[in-house]
C-alpha cells in the first residue's frame, strides 16, 4: 500500500472517529471565537482541563458568537469563552436580562452553565494619550465636555450604533463631532498626535504598549463585558471544577499583556496561555513544536480536497437527475432552478449557522453547504444543455424509435455534455474558494491559515492559505478541461464544412 492511500485512509479514519466522538462525550471540546483573545482564553481552558486529567481538544477560531452558541447548544463543543455583555445585549437581547444572575438563570434554561468572571472585562472604553490627558486635566469621560476642540475618531461600528456615540454624547452632553476611523489606524493616529480621543476595548494590547489612559466612565454608561466560560451542564464535575479554577485568575492587565504577546510579538496563543498558567497556577506546560510548512500544507490540502470532492460528487449525483427532470418538465424546471437559485443567495455564514444544529461543526456542515452551492451551476447547465439541443435532432431521434432512456443515453446527454461539463467546472472552482470559509466552523483546510492571518494581520500566514487555494483552483480547472476534452464527442468539435459535393 503506498503512502498516498495510507494518508487517505488515515484521513477517513480521523473523520469517522471525529464523527463518533462527537456523540461519545469522552473528550471535552473547547471552542473559541475568531479573535486573538478568544483563542487565548480557549487555550487557558484547554490547558486547565488537561491539567485536571480531562481529555480535551480545542476547536479554535470558529466564526462569531452565533456559530459558537449554536455549536454549544448542539453539543459540537462543550465549552467556550464569551462576555456577559455580549450574552445579555446581543445573544439573549430579547430576554431583557437586568443582571448576571438573571443571565445565569436564562442560560440554565438552555442547559448551559456559566463560570464567574475570569477576572477581566473587555468592554468599550474611551482612551487618550496619558500625557495629553494629564496636561488638560481630563480624568473622566465627563471632562471631555469642557474641551469642545478635542479631535475624536471612533470605529465606524461604535459611531453608528444607537447605543454607541449618539447615546454616549447624549449621556455626557459631549459637543464634539467625531469622525469614523479604522480601529487599528486609530491607535497609530493617536500615537502620532493627529487625534486626541478614540474608542477602545479595555483589553486591547496597544493600551499598555502606548501607555494610554482609559477615561473613567463615572456615569456607568458602558455595560460590563466580563469574560466568562460557558459550558454544557452535562459536563462532569471534575471538568467544571477545572474551568472554575480560572475564575478571577486573569486581570485586565494580564489579558492586555497576553494579547500583546500574541498580536504584537507574534507568539503562539498556545505558548502565551501555557506560560501564563505555569507562572500563576503552576500548571505544567505542554509546549510542542508544530508541524513544518510542508506538512501543514499537505495536511490542509488533504482536508480541503476531501471537502471539495465529497461535496462535488454528491452535487453531481443530485444535480444531474434534477437538471434532466427540469429539462423534461418546463414547470418543474422553473421550480427546480428557482429553488437552487434561492439556495445560492443564502449568505454562506448564515447557511453554516443554520446547518450547525443539524450537523454540528467541522466537515459535515461544510460539505453540506458546498453541496448546496454546487447544485445551481450543474442543474442550470444540465438544463441549458438539454434544452439547447435543436428540436429537429430530437424529432429525428424520436422518429427512429429510440426509447426515452436510449435517447437520453445516446443522443441527449452526449450533445449536452460540453455545457454540463462547463457547469461542473464552475461548481468546482466556486467550491475550492468557498471551502476556505469552512475553517470558521472548524473544517480545517486552506481557510485555517487565512483566518489566523487575518486575525493576526500576518500576510505570510494569509498567503500560506491563499496561494495553495488559488493553485488548487487552477489545477482543478485544468484537470476539468482535460476531462472535458476527453469526454466531448469528437464530432462536436469539428467545424461545419461549406463545400458541397
Amino acid at each position: 500500500m503506498n503512502t498516498a492511500w495510507r494518508h487517505i485512509l488515515l484521513g477517513v479514519a480521523v473523520a469517522l472517529s471525529a464523527l463518533v466522538s462527537q456523540h461519545a462525550g469522552a473528550q471535552v471540546k473547547v471552542g473559541s471565537k475568531n479573535f486573538t483573545e478568544g483563542v487565548i482564553v480557549g487555550e487557558l481552558a484547554r490547558l486547565s482541563l488537561a491539567d485536571a486529567g480531562v481529555t480535551t481538544v480545542h476547536r479554535r477560531q470558529l466564526g462569531g458568537t452565533r456559530i459558537l452558541w449554536e455549536a454549544l447548544l448542539a453539543g459540537a463543543i462543550d465549552v467556550y469563552p464569551d462576555y456577559t455583555g455580549t450574552l445579555r445585549f446581543e445573544l439573549l437581547a430579547d430576554e431583557k436580562l437586568r443582571d448576571d444572575s438573571e443571565l445565569a438563570t436564562a442560560l440554565a434554561r438552555y442547559d448551559i452553565g456559566m463560570t464567574r468572571s475570569l477576572g477581566f472585562e473587555n468592554s468599550y472604553a474611551v482612551a487618550m494619550r496619558s500625557d495629553r490627558a494629564a496636561a488638560l486635566g481630563i480624568r473622566s469621560i465627563g471632562d471631555l465636555a469642557t474641551h469642545p476642540e478635542l479631535r475624536i475618531a471612533l470605529s465606524n461600528e461604535f459611531l453608528d450604533r444607537t447605543d454607541g456615540w449618539p447615546a454616549l454624547a447624549g449621556a455626557y452632553r459631549l459637543p464634539q463631532q467625531p469622525r469614523g476611523l479604522d480601529h487599528d489606524l486609530a491607535y497609530a493616529a493617536l500615537d502620532a498626535d493627529q487625534i486626541d480621543v478614540i474608542d477602545a476595548y479595555t483589553t486591547d494590547p496597544q493600551i499598555g504598549q502606548l501607555g494610554l489612559t482609559l477615561l473613567q466612565d463615572d456615569r456607568g454608561f458602558f455595560p460590563r463585558y466580563d469574560a466568562v466560560l460557558l459550558y454544557r451542564r452535562s459536563l462532569e464535575s471534575g471538568a467544571v471544577a477545572a474551568l472554575q479554577r480560572l475564575e478571577g485568575a486573569v486581570s485586565t492587565t494580564d489579558m492586555q499583556r497576553m494579547n500583546a504577546a500574541a498580536q504584537l510579538e507574534r507568539q503562539s496563543e498556545q505558548a502565551v496561555a501555557a506560560t501564563f498558567l505555569a507562572d500563576r497556577l503552576g500548571v505544567a506546560s505542554d509546549k510542542r513544536a508544530g508541524p513544518g510548512l510542508a506538512a501543514r500544507i499537505s495536511s490542509r490540502t488533504l482536508e480541503h480536497l476531501s471537502l471539495v470532492t465529497v461535496a462535488l460528487l454528491a452535487a453531481l449525483l443530485a444535480a444531474l437527475p434534477l437538471g434532466i427532470a427540469a429539462a423534461r418538465k418546463p414547470r418543474l424546471g422553473a421550480f427546480i432552478t428557482s429553488i437552487t437559485g434561492l439556495l445560492q443567495t443564502i449568505p454562506s455564514l448564515a447557511l453554516f449557522v443554520l446547518l450547525i444544529p443539524l450537523l454540528g461543526i467541522g466537515a459535515p456542515p461544510t460539505i453540506a453547504a458546498l453541496f448546496l452551492y454546487s447544485l445551481l451551476p450543474i442543474v442550470r447547465n444540465t438544463h441549458a444543455g438539454l434544452t439547447g439541443i435543436p428540436a429537429s435532432l430530437l424529432d429525428s431521434a424520436d422518429a427512429l424509435g429510440l426509447s426515452r432512456m436510449a435517447r437520453l443515453r445516446r443522443i441527449d446527454l452526449p450533445l449536452a455534455l460540453p455545457t454540463i461539463m462547463a457547469g461542473i467546472k464552475t461548481a468546482a472552482v466556486i467550491a475550492v474558494g468557498l471551502a476556505t470559509l469552512g475553517a470558521i466552523i472548524g473544517a480545517g483546510g486552506y481557510g485555517q491559515p487565512i483566518i489566523t492571518g487575518i486575525r493576526l494581520r500576518s500576510t505570510p500566514l494569509i498567503l500560506e492559505g491563499a496561494i495553495p487555494a488559488a493553485v488548487l483552483a487552477l489545477l482543478l480547472q485544468g484537470l476539468m478541461e482535460l476531462v472535458e476534452r476527453w469526454v466531448t464527442p469528437r464530432g462536436l468539435t469539428i467545424r461545419q464544412q461549406t463545400a458541397d459535393l
Binding site: 429525428s396 424520436d398 422518429a399 427512429l400 445516446r410 443522443i411 464530432g491 469539428i494 464544412q497 459535393l501
Partner: protein
Amino acid sequence: MFSLEQVAVQFGTTTALQPTDLAFEPGSTTALVGPSGSGKSTLLRVLAGLVPATGLVQFAGSSIADWRAVRLRLGYVIQDGGLFPHLTATENVEIMARELHWSRDRIDQRRTELARIVGLPDEPLARYPAELSGGQRQRVSIMRALMLDPDVVLLDEPLSALDPITRARLATELRSIFSALSKTVVLVTHSLREAQFFAERIVLMRRGQIVQSGSLEQLERTPNDAFVTDFIAAERAL
C-alpha cells in the same frame, strides 16, 4: 398503410391542422404541397407521432397503441438530414440496428447494401456529419431511414437545403430508389414540380386544410378552388 379520420392538431390557440380525413395506400407515393403554414409538415409529423393529435390515426389497419413499434416501421428524413453531430455517418446509420441488438454481420451487410443503393462510398461513412457535404448528409440520412427496411418513408423537404445540381441528381436517384423498393412514400415539399416528379398523388393544402388531392393533371383540369389555379400558375410563372 396509414389512414386518418378527423385528425386535428392544436397548438395553444392556433389550429395547425383542421380535422382531416386522408388515407395512404401501401406502395403509394403522396406529396403534401402548400405554402408555408399550410399544415403540410404538421400532417407529416402526425404520421411519425411527433405531435399530439386528436382524432383517429390507424397504421396497417389498426389504431396506434404504441408509437415506438410504428416508428420502427417508418423512415424519417428531414431537411439537411437531422444527423446526430456527435456520431459518425456509420454510427448514425447503425444506431437503431445496434439498439435492437442486430448481429454485427447483419448490420454490416445491410449498411453495405444501402451504401450501394444511395451511391455512397466507404470513405465518407467514416466521417462526422460536419465533415460531409449537403448531398452526402442527405444520402446518409436516407440510409439511416432505410436501415430497418421500413414500410413507410416520410420525407420533409429533403432536397430544400441542396444546391440545384445536387438537388436534381439526388431527386432522380431518390425516385428510382423508392420505385425499386416499393415503399409507401409521403413527401412534404413547397414545390409542385418536385411533387409531380416524385408522387402519383398531390395533396394541396392551405391554412391547415386539404384544398384538393389528385394528380397534377386533375388539379389543373378540375380545380375545386381558385387557390388551386393560383398556386399552379404561381409555380409556372417562375
